[in-house]
Symmetry: C2
Subunit: 198 residues, 2 copies
């Protein structure tokens, strides 16, 4: 019977959500990182992504606006402990990168560091920011995507998602999950349903 | 050695990306759906999500702005063919929902339909939109999340991600993937690394 779903109220439940490691230099030129699950690609030209960052409490907020630059590293299964740590500890109290032993590399393109241990990183210059309420959408133009050679797919033009092994965040169960098996091909499988309209 | 990643250029590669079925009523009150991989949660209060929609070419763009409402259905492994079809066929030419046999249910909360076959749907009222270039970020306040009883986790407060079986989109390989095994617990695993700073 249609229309019998249960109402769960207004909650930030979307599937899947990413685990993004947002890196900036703070005012002392120290690399800092925070974990964000709220973000996604938002525009193809200029090619851009959005991350939602709290204006109150998040140490990353002010440096990001001042430097107008950040990087996003893709968190992976291997670094689930570190990725979670980057989300629960503040750069105000901890030198988070030093505590994990991760390596901050200075981007040659934007005024921000990236985490070398992330197999894929996106270097972004802040192009817009929009205050929505508790969170501000930081819109970054993706200036380059960099990836480890050993995570590239055949041909080398893009990464192999299983070689990256990115984390999926599930806000409901507070769980991190891996990527499952391939179940279809985009811009292809749906052609089976295309027939002339009447 | 640090800093030896390969440059892949400015590409919209983020991991994971969702497969979102964005539904609106068109000007003839006909339910229409399009598939969007570019979106994510963007604010906790008011609890909001963002989807990036092309202003040129996308049939959904104008009705969404006029109705100021849309729903987002989570695409699942079972409906990979339909979800792909909704992304490659235009509502200008096809009655996409009728062609798949999917059921459009009129939301009681916002002026938009939702797809009953999606186990999880988010009912949104358009609160902001920001033109970035080729794409416009549509920001929707999530007014309610509705879920099928049989996809809920124990306790019923939120869905079980494996019971939903949401699709993951990989822009690089043009692939759809499932969700893998649970590999960690958020706001918990990282505590192992917390110790007083010097």
């Amino acid at each position: 019977m249609a229309g019998t779903k249960r109402s769960l109220g207004a909650q930030p439940l979307l599937y899947p959500e990413p685990v993004l490691l947002v890196c900036v230099y703070d005012d002392d030129n120290r690399p800092n990182v925070m974990t964000a699950a709220w973000g996604g690609i938002c525009c193809s030209d200029p090619v851009s992504l959005m991350v939602g960052i709290r204006s109150s409490g998040r140490f990353t907020y002010e440096p990001l606006l001042r430097r107008k630059a950040f990087t996003v590293g893709i968190a992976t299964e291997k670094m689930v402990v570190e990725a979670d740590f980057f989300g629960i500890a503040s750069g105000r109290k901890f030198d988070k990168l030093a505590m994990t032993g991760f390596t901050a590399v200075k981007s040659q393109i934007v005024d921000a560091p990236y985490i070398d241990e992330c197999p894929v990183v996106l270097e972004c210059s802040l192009s817009n920011h929009f205050e929505l309420g508790v969170h501000t959408m930081m819109v970054g133009e993706i200036r380059d995507v960099k990836a480890d050679e050993d995570c590239l797919a055949e041909g080398g033009a893009f990464p192999d998602i299983h070689k990256i092994a990115p984390l999926v965040f599930d806000a409901g169960s507070k769980g991190y999950f891996g990527i499952g098996k391939r179940v279809g091909t985009a811009f292809s499988d749906g052609k089976a349903l295309i027939k002339p309209s009447k």
